[in-house]
Symmetry: D2
Subunit: 124 residues, 4 copies
């Protein structure tokens, strides 16, 4: 749909991230872990985890015709993921007229927390 610009995210597709659910203020994205996501230590690269979280944020905040751009984002790495799949759940924490705050939790296949990401958006 024309008001779901996040569906056209080339980078998210390129790395294998997929939005499973999206409504204003809430979204779920998933990514199957492959060799292409590994860093030099054979751990999932922080950028891959970050991108999945950012994609969930984009889906939650750009639903319904809104255009929200990320202003900044802070990621905390909690533990290395186990299993073959990462899931990111983005929830709006608070939203003003222009500024919105989202929290995204990334979990692994066992449901263990992998990263916590706080993203601040600016509504155009």
């Amino acid at each position: 749909m024309e008001n779901e610009v996040f569906r056209n995210d080339r980078f998210a597709k390129y790395i294998g991230a997929e939005v499973l659910e999206a409504k204003p203020g809430y979204a779920v994205a998933e990514m199957k872990i492959t060799e292409n996501h590994m860093n030099g230590l054979s751990l999932v690269q922080g950028g891959a985890i970050f991108t999945l979280a950012d994609y969930a944020f984009a889906a939650a905040s750009n639903c319904g015709g809104n255009i929200t751009l990320g202003i900044n984002a802070c990621i905390s790495y909690l533990k290395s993921p186990q299993g073959s799949r990462l899931t990111a759940v983005a929830k709006e924490v608070h939203s003003g007229r222009k500024i919105s705050h989202y929290e995204v939790e990334v979990t692994d296949e066992n449901g263990e927390p992998v990263a916590l990401v706080h993203i601040t958006g600016y509504r155009k």
Copy 2:
């Protein structure tokens, strides 16, 4: 070399990031911008910019046999990049026995600042 684990970063390679220079506490990484880096608004996806910055951090902090893991990272998006290339320069701001702080500046082909990333590392 065996003490340059960042050379084996599959994810960085996959998205086209390359380390141009690396010494302890300092590194430069570069990425040619392609269609694969675009988000749904045809801007470079935040995750692509973040990954480039994170890769420069990894190169600077994992040089010389050290293994440093990112604990957390904060990215501020300054402006959308122009041109066809992004460059990330990572510099150590301070380093204690276990904890180190890096600042990474990402600029576009015109030398304009695109993002500022602060990364905290933990030396194993």
Copy 3:
């Protein structure tokens, strides 16, 4: 008690912050808002909100004889507080051997969210 070093926090006392409850990984702190907490726009100064949150983190992470130092902290300001009292609830999100992650929510007298603070600690 000698293992509750946060009880001796002079700065927290000076600005009127008080720990109501503290156990490992969880604490509640409170502060009555006074004229002394105002910034130049007659809003509660960000530093006062931050300090209350940091104090709750210190109580939760320094309980039971542990010494945990903050490495970094990110605060997001959600809305201006109403009423005469702020409450900060600190919860451990994840804890490794040395590194721990806390989330602190600050609410006003009406229970409305005022700030969200993520703090990373290092256990000595």
Copy 4:
């Protein structure tokens, strides 16, 4: 002056912070360290350091009649301060129409870096 609202910051005054220099996009603030700034470990409380940095940001961003509110702030603690005085220098990193990014460096009496703070502001 009426366009220097930061001069009326009650909390900054209360904890002993003072603006030494302020122009649009740049400011310097200072604080004499006293017993009142100590935490339970007899180190300068993170909230005191944060408040000084935030005050320098407010001075730099609210000069010349602008009103800029902090949206979020990330502080990294580099090392414990030595000596009897802290200095915070705030510099604008980038400024758009509504959103601005500042970096504040806090140093101790020996000129050693104590904390690095990144603050994002929203111009009303």
